[in-house]
């Protein structure tokens, strides 16, 4: 996870992966995703925003390689069909029998690396999320926000090219959520990582991302793509600026349109 160069402006980023003409059909007739095209560039912070049932989680699972598209394909830069990534789920998804450090060690452990050989990386990841003192604690001893930080540390620890986050802060209270949003942006600035972030919160998506993909349901599809032209770093100043309010209104309208659009296929 050593990135020194600043994230280049949006027009000049290298391609990381491309989803082309993706359809995903469940049980032969439930269309979860229809004709999704998305190019993800290195350094992008993309939010997938939409109502439930719009296929945003399906899209994430397809990118993660947990499912195969019915038609269409996902191609990573370099022609691979899979890539290394970190994932953060809606729940912290920690192993309760393992300490915080052991949980963060997991991605390495599954690659056959002993704890001692990657101890520095594990401790560095914990330091980045502000939990360097909690390595020996068990998950049950931590608050909801802290557990989520452990989950983020685990996603970061191997320095993956892409981090997928599936409504990671949806279950947290508003104050914790703001704090984690701020810290996430700081982390992203430090690590220059690429993030795809699923959310149903307009405010969160505008605050975090430089690209917002608005999705519609029944069938799940991309309805609009917006660019958030506000410079990073963003902090509390941005959250209270009129610019932020205007962007939120614009995004909100796009989401509203997406929800009123009628799909080509009746559900």
């Amino acid at each position: 996870m050593t990135g020194i160069a600043p994230i280049p402006p949006m027009g000049s980023r290298d391609k990381l992966l491309e989803m082309s003409a993706i359809d995903k059909v469940f049980n032969g007739n439930v269309v979860a995703l229809r004709d999704m095209n998305l190019q993800v560039n290195q350094g992008d912070f993309i939010s997938l925003l939409g109502p439930s049932g719009c296929g945003k989680s399906t899209a994430l699972r397809l990118i993660a390689g947990l499912m195969r598209p019915t038609t269409g394909r996902i191609l990573w830069e370099g022609g691979q069909t899979t890539g290394d990534l970190g994932v953060v789920f809606q729940e912290p998804t920690l192993m309760p029998w393992a300490t915080v450090a052991q949980n963060v060690w997991l991605p390495f452990r599954l690659r056959g690396k002993s704890y001692n050989s990657v101890k520095d990386e594990v401790l560095e990841a914990l330091r980045l999320v502000g939990l360097e003192k909690f390595g020996k604690s068990y998950p049950r001893e931590l608050s909801g926000g802290m557990k989520m930080r452990v989950s983020i540390a685990r996603a970061l620890v191997t320095g993956p090219r892409l981090i997928l986050m599936d409504e990671p802060f949806a279950a947290l209270d508003e104050i914790t959520r703001h704090k984690l949003n701020n810290d996430l942006l700081e982390l992203r600035d430090k690590l220059k990582c690429t993030v795809i972030f699923v959310t149903h919160s307009v405010f969160e998506s505008v605050f975090l991302s430089d690209r917002i993909v608005v999705m519609a349901a029944r069938p799940g599809r991309v309805s609009a793509e917006l660019t958030v032209n506000a410079p990073y770093p963003r902090g509390e100043d941005f959250r209270t600026s009129p610019e932020y309010a205007a962007l939120c209104r614009e995004t909100s309208e796009a989401l509203h349109n997406a929800m009123n659009e009628h799909g080509q296929v009746p559900a």
Partner: protein, 291 residues
């Protein structure tokens, strides 16, 4: 800060240390519960023994019908050489059966979760073995199995292995689905998933099964011995009870019974202790509630 504000905050600080009526009542109740947890059962046990003794003495019940607790204790000490040998035999069979049940139960459970088809094929057999009363299979077993110890072991195993098998299978299948996805994303092998995810998840379930199986293996050992019935050297407590019954040696029957009951309690306690030691760091069942 003005003087009145200062005194107000001082008063507030003092108020924080004051224990109100409700809290005091709760503390008293907790204290009594702590005391009662040990003393109550002890007192009730003592009263029961006393009542037993008085009933025997006042009604002049002869000892070949109902011996008093004093006589039972006396017999326990006097017959200790015979009874301790029998206890050792029963204990040995129980422990061996439990070990084989643990190995067999966990082994089968792991096999079942590795392949749905294996589970579909063999689970019915496990259920049939479980629901058929061991007393009814035991005579057959002793016809086919020459070695008496092996026969006893087999009977006790049949009774004890099922709770371990079914609990461990349930546990191995109860992994968090997000964690399973995570393992898949990181390309975990089948063995890694079993070792790092499924077995730890199944541990509390297994330990629950172990507590049941411990008692059942003792029951299995005792019942099998009743059926096997042969005496002589190497007989367990069940045989001693039968033998004492034929001779109307009721005090010895009671003494042997007490030994069986105590053995059962010790096995349960040890299993609970093991469970506590293994789970206390992380599992809900072993955590102290903070009120």
């Amino acid at each position: 800060m003005t003087a009145s504000e200062l005194s107000q905050s001082a008063a507030r600080q003092q108020a924080e240390q004051v224990v109100d009526e409700e809290e005091a009542r709760r503390a008293r109740r907790e204290m009594w519960e702590q005391i009662g947890k040990w003393t109550l059962p002890a007192i009730v046990l003592f009263l029961a023994l006393f009542a037993w003794d008085r009933v025997v003495v006042w009604n002049q019940i002869p000892h070949y019908i109902l011996p008093g607790p004093g006589l039972v204790l006396e017999t326990l000490i006097k017959d200790w050489p015979i009874l301790s040998d029998a206890l050792w035999v029963t204990l040995k069979i129980t422990m061996m059966a439990l070990s084989v049940a643990v190995i067999g139960g966990v082994g089968l459970a792991v096999l079942f979760t590795q392949s749905r088809f294996v589970e579909m094929s063999f689970y019915p057999f496990a259920v049939i073995l479980q629901v058929t009363p061991v007393v009814s299979i035991a005579p057959l077993i002793f016809i086919y199995v020459d070695n008496r110890l092996a026969g006893l072991l087999l009977c006790a195993w049949i009774v004890a292995f099922f709770p371990i098998l079914s609990n461990t299978t349930l546990g191995l299948n109860s992994t968090d689905h997000n964690l399973r996805d995570l393992y898949k994303i990181y390309g975990a092998t089948r063995w890694q998933r079993l070792r790092y995810l499924q077995l730890p998840t199944a541990l509390p379930y297994f330990l629950g099964g172990l507590r049941i199986a411990g008692g059942l293996s003792l029951i299995g050992a005792v019942v099998a011995e009743y059926v096997a019935g042969t005496g002589g050297i190497g007989s367990g407590l069940a045989f001693r009870i039968l033998e004492a019954g034929y001779r109307l040696n009721i005090p010895r029957m009671f003494a042997a019974l007490i030994l069986i009951a105590v053995t059962g309690v010790v096995i349960f306690t040890l299993a609970s202790l093991l469970s506590h030691l293994l789970l206390r760091k992380w599992h809900e069942s072993a955590l102290k509630r903070e009120s």
